[in-house]
Structure formats: C-alpha cells, structure tokens
C-alpha cells in the first residue's frame, strides 16, 4: 500500500524503498534469534510490551522520516525498530499458547501464527482506507496514516500484553494426561533441549532448510501474484488485486487449518505434504497454469495454504523435536530462515523475471523458469524433511545438567570428552 506513495514522496526508485521492507524482514529474523532466549526468560507480557513499543515506535519514527524527507529515518523506524518489534511480537505468543494447549500444539501454533496472517488482512484495507481518507493524494496521507497505524497498534498490542498469562506450572487440559515415551511417536520427545544445544543438532538445520525452502517457494508466487495472473489471463488490475486478496485468505486459512491437522497426522507427514504436493502444484502451474483460470486459481490457493501452513506448523514441529522448555527461543533462531528466504526469494524471482523479459519472452513464458526452479527448491526441502530423525538424547537438558553436575564433582569442564 505504501510502496508507490513512498517512491513518489522520496523521488526515488522501487529499490531504495524496497530496502525498508528488507531491513524489516532481516531484523525480524535477527531479533527473534538473538532475543528469543530473553523472551523465554522475561515472559510473554514483558516481551509483548517491548514489541508494542518497538513496532508502534517504528511507525512514529517512520512518520518523522517521511515528514522531513529523511529516508534513513524510515529505514531506522519502520525497518530497523519495527522489524525488532515484529520479531519479538511474532515469537512471544507461540510458546505461551503451546503451554496452554499441551495436547494440541499444532492448533496452538496455528492460532498464534494465524494472527500474523490475519493482521495482514486487516492492515492492507485499513492502510488503503487511511490513505484515501486523509488526503486526495496518497503521498500527503502517508504521515497521518503512519501516526494513526502506530497509535492503533500501540493500543491493540498493549491490551494483548496486559491480559496475556502463562499457565501455572504443570497445568494441563481437563481430562488429558501427558503421553508416555512409548505412547508418543518416535519424533515426539518427552525431554527438553536448550536453545544453545538445539542449534548444534542436525535436526535444527534440517528444519531450517525445510522452512527456508517452503518460504522461498511461497514468495515465488506471492511476489509475482498480481503481474502473473495479468500475464497469464490478461485480467484487469482490480481482478489481479482480488487474486492477491484470495491468496491472503488461503495463506491465513492454511495456518490454522493445516497446523491443526498436523496434530492428527503428525508433523513430518504434514511437511511431506507441504513440500511434496507443493512441488507437484508448482509443476502443474508451470506446465498447465495458463490453460485454465480455474486450475490456476485452485493450484495457487493450495500453494499459498501450504505456505501459511509451513509457517504455523514449524513451532509445533520444534516442540516435538526439542520439547517445550525453550521452544520460543529455538523458534526465534529458526526464523533466520524466513529472513534469508525473504531476502533471497524476491532477488531470485526478480532477477529471473528481468532475464526472461530481456530474452524477449512474454505472457506465461515469463514465469515458467522461476516456477520450475521453485519445484527444485521444494524437492530440496522435501529431502531435508525426510532426513529428520529424533534428537540424540545427549542433547537433552536433563542429561546436560547431569554432565554439569558430574563435571563439578570431577572438576572437569562440562562437555569435555575423555
């Protein structure tokens, strides 16, 4: 919504304005990774309070930058500070909800991550309404729109921060007893792994690859959704905007729908579906997408529902692999995959689109190569998911604490090999 008005306001190209959003996505991942342990320690209320200050403060500083035509202030506010707010705000409800729903972690993470998708559904029309309401020229409406959004987010997020609660230690749903080691599948641990240990396991990096591939592929469609449907079927811009809206709905529905389903079919099979069926869908889109609008819409909806589902199911997968104790901090570290995909994905897609245009291709042919590349990306993620095995017990926290105790008795540093 703000991209074109910002380009006009600063009299610059799309690239310098795009950097604002790139900074935001990078800071999201970095802050979630670096501050994840702090979020676990400080608790959700402090974390959400901090996220509210950063996110709304980002809008206020961004508004100052727009008012004074200082692009670096927009980078600092909306990009840097806002990105930190996004990162903290994204991970803080996840581990809280997992603790409230120990019997349905997929539902819990689906609810938390759906909020992020649902927020986009509200923010987009709200921003559009504000830009139209404040001035006849959207360029003149950016500052009041930023200030209004900052204030609205501040109030809404503060309400969330002040009502959020962690359940009491040992709380469990009525009538539910935690499954024993024998009852859980081999990929569901009853032990806990610390965040610092988790990043030393191959499982963490396999899941990092899974998320990176799933997000990169999803961005492949999202980034080009509007021009793609116009080039495939020569539809009007309004219809293309409607298509983007449809994808947003599919994205949000996939978050709660597929993540909840993963409680019943298991996390690994769910990602086999996201990545395996997803690869088939991309192949269909590349090969036959231009043949039928109905097929194009159906396949795109499935792809975006898998994209959203991939985001929402990953914290539950982490909980299965590493336990609940530090799942928020581990999730934060894993979100660097999102940052990497958020930067790499559009770069790859736009570079291929430019290359195809320079080669004189038009219509659906512009997208065939990038869609086939996404099939390959999804296959890489599919293989990474297949390689996921239970975490070795030497990484479990109890075992580590035991080793530390042994080390203190023997005088040998914990973790040193004999």
């Amino acid at each position: 919504m703000f991209k074109n008005p910002l380009v006009e306001r600063f009299g610059t190209g799309l690239t310098p304005i795009g950097i604002i959003f790139s900074i935001g996505i990078v800071m999201l991942g970095l802050s979630a990774a670096i501050l994840g342990t702090w979020v676990e320690r400080a608790g959700p209320r402090t974390a959400m309070f901090t996220a509210a200050l950063c996110w709304s403060g980002g809008f206020f500083i961004g508004a100052l930058g727009v008012a004074t035509t200082q692009l670096w202030l927009v980078y600092l506010g909306y990009g840097f500070l806002g990105g930190i707010g996004l990162g903290i705000g994204y991970i803080s409800p996840v581990s809280t909800l997992i603790k409230w729903f120990p019997d349905r972690p997929g539902l819990a993470t689906g609810l938390a991550i759906m909020g992020f998708g649902g927020g986009a559904l509200i923010a987009s029309p709200l921003s559009s309404t504000l830009l139209e309401a404040y001035a006849s020229n959207p360029v003149d409406a950016i500052v009041p729109a930023f200030l209004t959004l900052g204030a609205v987010y501040l109030v809404a997020m503060m309400v969330g921060a002040f009502v959020v609660r962690l359940p009491a230690e040992g709380w469990r749903s009525e009538g539910w007893t935690p499954p024993t080691e024998e009852e859980t599948g081999s990929l569901q641990t009853t032990a806990d792994v610390s965040a610092s240990s988790a990043i030393r396991t191959p499982q963490f990096w396999l899941l990092w690859t899974v998320l990176f591939c799933n997000v990169t592929a999803g961005i492949g469609v999202l980034e080009q959704a509007s021009p793609m449907i116009q080039d495939f079927f020569s539809v009007e811009a309004a219809a293309a905007a409607g298509f983007v809206g449809l994808l947003s709905l599919a994205n949000m529905a996939g978050r709660i729908g597929w993540s909840s389903t993963s409680d019943y079919i298991g996390r690994k099979p769910t990602y086999i579906m996201y990545l395996g069926v997803g690869a088939v869908m991309y192949f269909l889109l590349a090969s036959f997408g231009s043949a039928s609008l109905a097929l194009f819409l159906l396949v795109s909806i499935v792809i975006l529902s898998f994209y959203g589902g991939g985001f929402a199911t990953i914290p539950a997968y982490l909980k299965d692999m590493f336990g609940v104790a530090q799942v928020g901090a581990i999730h934060g570290r894993l979100l660097t995959a999102w940052s990497a995909a958020g930067v790499a994905g559009p770069l790859i897609i736009n570079a291929i689109a430019d290359y195809q245009t320079a080669a004189g291709r038009t219509g659906a042919d512009l997208y065939t190569l990038s869609l086939f590349i996404m099939v390959g990306v999804l296959i890489v993620g599919f293989v990474a998911n297949l390689l996921v095995r239970p975490v070795d017990s030497r990484f479990h926290m109890e075992r580590e604490e035991g080793r530390e105790r042994e080390a203190s008795v023997s005088g040998r540093p914990a973790g040193s090999e004999t």
Binding site: G43, L121, A123, P125, L126, V163, G242, F243, G245
Partner: protein
C-alpha cells in the same frame, strides 16, 4: 513484569470467561472486516 507475575493459575472463573469473550470480539470484529474487504476485492476476479 517477570514471568512469575504474568503466570495465571490456569483455573477458569466467570470473570476470565467474560474477558475471553470480550477479547475474542475485539479480535474478530476487525478480522471479519478485513476478510469482508478482501472478499469484496476477490469478487472483481470473478465478475
């Protein structure tokens, strides 16, 4: 605001039920507005 301060008992009281309903309404009203606005745009795709 430490973790222990924000830790609830996990028990359900009538006031917490009312609060939960109020908060769900606060979430659902803007969300449904956003979904409605989005669907309004989607109609253009099929018209």
């Amino acid at each position: 605001m430490s973790e222990s301060e924000s830790r609830g008992s996990g028990g359900q009281t009538s006031s917490s039920t009312v609060l939960a309903v109020v908060l769900w309404v606060l979430v659902l009203i803007p969300l449904l507005w956003g979904v409605y606005q989005t669907l309004t745009g989607v109609v253009a795709l099929f018209s």
